[in-house]
Amino acid sequence: MNIFLLEDDAETASYLVGGLTELGHQVEACEDGNVAIAAIMARPFDILVLDRMVPHRDGLSVLKAVRAGGCNAPALLLTARSRIEDRVDGLEAGADDYLVKPFAFAELVARLNALARRPPPVETVTTLRVGAIEMDLLRRTVSRAGREIDLQPREFSLLEYLLHNAGKVVTRTMLLDRVWNLGFDPRTNIVETHVSRLRAKLDEGFERSAIRTVRGAGYMIVDHEG
């Protein structure tokens, strides 16, 4: 992926550039808001990662400026603040996601992957399929290798989100935010409970688990058969 990074802390920037480059992405980093606008408008990027607090122009106004300039690459805002208004401001300015500092690198990668290949909602997808798992979004049914699996509505939306992001790591906070619409992190292992229930239902009668736990990062639905 071709990633643009606006981050003024040199150490954080080099850490992120190093990590993302290692994963095979091209990263152009910049530490000044005004320079960033010119750079983003100069050539197309697959994704924008913008820190909110940078010299001259904050990430939010950079985003507004480039959105006004016709750039519609998905954007992820980084911020040290977690206030509710900030989140709202960010989304209103045209951000597609929002990550509060400090964050785990895995969390950033997971969110970038989710953003980068988010399918444009032009054609209506009615079935999701990963390996032997098939989900019918209209009839609200799920089957694995042809065997029907009975899911609760919440388990269904959890699986739907995992299938949408098949092959990519989905973090705990992404699940809390997207599946359950919770803006906070419970102190108990609610996510784990839901995932393990879903896993139990999906894996019943199968040797290999459909959902893989990625240590220190999150979960990923994997295609064993394919």
């Binding site: 977690s82 206030r83 359950w180 919770l182 409970t193």
Partner: protein
Amino acid sequence: MPRTVWGLALAVALICGAVTTLLAVGATLYVHRELERQLDARIETETKGLLGYYEDHGFEPLVQFITMREQRVGPGAIGYLSGVDAANRSTAYLLIDAQGRRRAGNLMAAVPKPGWSEFVRFRRPNGSTGVAQAMNSTLSDGGQLIVTADRAVIQQMHWAMLKLFGIGWAATLLLTTAAIIGFGRVIRYRLNDIETSAQAIMAGDFSRRMPLDGSRGEFDRLSLILNRMLDRMGALLDNLRQVSGDIAHDLRTPLQRVRNRLDAMTNAAAGAAHEDQLYAAIQDMDDLLDLFSSLLAISEIEGQSVRADFKPVRLDEAVGEIADIYRPAMEDEGRAFTVRTAPAIVRGDRRLLQNVIANLLDNALLHTPAGTPVWIGLERKVDQAILTVRDEGPGIPLAEHERAFQRLTRLDASRSAPGHGLGLSLVAAIVEAHGGKVGIAPSEPGLTIEIALPVQSE
């Protein structure tokens, strides 16, 4: 409005002076007019009498009558020579015949013009000069009768008034000056006391309070309210000190653990054990970051800026969603989980309110043994929505009820359970930001947290 004591005092003094002066002028004018009217009346009566005498008896008898009247001394006598009644002595006469000769009367003055004359200069029998009120009546034979009254009474009255109000003025001046000085002294004395105390407090003596003299006066009231403010600030300061101390203490343990793990890694060979240590260290760091975000969240909510985004929230739906999310965890631990909600709309932030419910359910999961039943109830009482979360766990001893909502409080019974002791303080902060109240309701056995939120008026 004057804003200093001196300005106020000066204004008061000026007003007092002005009022006294006004009074003096008013009184003088009034008495002056009365006296003048009396003089005029006397002249008129006298003239009328003498003219009557003239009509009845003729000119020569009038000459004798006037001469006799002036020379008579004693009761009934009039004129300067009577020597009996001061007021009477002020009247003087002059009778002039048709040929212009002075025939009778003691008036030593130029003949005034016919009719009324004010301020006619004359010489008194004792030689002093005076000013008189005079009336010149022309007789039917061409002679003139002049009756005058000395204006000395009016002048005497002016002098008396001037003296009286001079004394009054001086007294007012003296009194106001004394009052101002006394007033200023009292104020300065009390202000100095307050200033001294304030300086001492600024210098670090936080236990010092403003002096009270028990008079319940204005300064005592000021001191009282200042002292209440100082008490409140002191309590907040203590709380802050306590919290910063607690934070430092709470950070030490996980930081020490991280340090230990990193230390161990410098010695151990790379491998699975290495990786375990790394993940454990990351877990510890995440724990620390959680502690910080919770503290920040509480400060943010207590700052009340969240209120700007408040919208109507269906509380029963919010409770239902959280209950659904927590149901699997409850079932996994073999707990009976009962949810009873009645419709209620409150004004607030949906996520924050859900955080409250989630926190209370987290507490139930973390601090009561598996299998302990948990209830959530939401009911409407007049204009309040009452949310209760109840469990049949060990509960919180009555003595610790108040402490339970303070930051970083880890009650003895839960010291071994995970957490930072911020859950209930976050709950309290959110509920208070929504204008509600949270408390521990008496329940035996177990724990009932009761939250009252004002419902949105329809």
